[in-house]
């Protein structure tokens, strides 16, 4: 194999590995953003957090991940979602940067 083809192969393999690792990390983040509350399951999305932050009523019904209406106490769910969002995003940021600064996943 010539120098250039060795380099090309190494680059392609390293890129593939990093893509797999990033995808696996994203899957975990999606799982961690799910919050159980009052028999329902909610995703800590920026939209839901923003909605709960501004809605003027304290007790309301909200559609969960399974399309079921669940009675929620706005402040309680907002606190749970905000905490989950912060923790998960902080972890993701840290691990993502660990990944992008190396060429091979094995180096992490």
């Amino acid at each position: 194999m010539t120098d250039i083809s060795t380099k090309l192969k190494a680059q392609a393999e390293a890129k593939f590995e990093l893509t797999v690792a990033r995808k696996t990390l994203e899957e975990r983040v999606e799982q961690q953003l799910l919050v159980a509350y009052n028999g329902g399951l909610f995703r800590a999305s920026t939209e839901l957090i923003a909605f709960l932050s501004t809605w003027p009523v304290d007790v309301l019904y909200l559609k969960d991940e399974y399309n079921r209406p669940v009675e929620i106490y706005r402040i309680v769910l907002l606190a749970k979602l905000s905490q989950a969002y912060s923790t998960v995003m902080n972890d993701w940021h840290t691990e993502y940067h660990e990944l992008v600064k190396v060429r091979k996943v094995a180096d992490v």
């Binding site: 192969k9 393999e13 593939f16 590995e17 893509t19 797999v20 690792a21 995808k23 696996t24 899957e27 975990r28 999606e30 799982q31 961690q32 799910l34 919050v35 159980a36 028999g39 329902g40 399951l41 991940e65 399974y66 399309n67 079921r68 691990e95 091979k104 996943v105 094995a106 992490v108």
Partner: protein
Amino acid sequence: MSRGALIFAYNNDFDYLSMADVAAGLVKKNLGIPTTVITDAASLGGTSIRYIDNIITKESTGGNTRSFILPTATVTTTWRNLNRSDAYELSPYEQTLMLDSDYFTFSDRLKHMFGTEHEFLCFGRVSDVTGQDTYESDRLIGKHSLPMIWATAVYFTKSEFSKLVFEFVKVIKENYRYYSLLYNFSPKPFRNDFAFSIALHTLSGYATDRRHFFPWAMPSMTTRASVLDYRPELNEIVYEYPVGGKTYTHGVSKSRDMDLHLMNKLDVTDNNLLDKIRKYIDAETN
């Protein structure tokens, strides 16, 4: 309401009971619930138990022959998986998480399903952590494209609906050849995934009801991937996999704080690996 995990573990060429014991340790640590294991006297004879809370001895009835294509060899062995349909009667819990012995709960994600209104939950999607989409061909069953579900991890409550699902799985198991012809799939080996798929689809009104699915894909590592290391301090598995289904080149990846279905039985029964996972379990439970 009592809560717990239930694992079927019958040794063959692989030490399923040791796997189940470590799986039980992870369940206790990350989900905070006890584990009951269904096994037989022969399996119990050679395995020391550390984490399993309750053992029910029940001889397995019959078995399948199945080949596992591993990175270093193809192992054909008796696959003793035929009494999964008895789980409803055997489980001592009101709310049960039935797991394969090679499904390791490295996170607390499944804990959140307890206490919800769901009566029966399983995985409707699978995610290949080697990035190869190996399970794409398992998305549908047979010519009529029945959506496939995974019996690897099943949450059920003692309820009329769950009871019916398990009863129907027994009927399908007893008449497996008929159902294989009806849905157009191979009658051998018997697959719990197929039986549960047919039962759940039918009892959901001949439809796919995503309310019976966990809301994420089941992370799974194929038999062709190898575990290189487990780092207890990071709760992280490092693994190697052939790229493009070939073996001339390999990729390396890792998974941290995420449940995994580890299908390479040779690796998962390796005592060095299990000892490292035990170290992780003991670090917080002791």
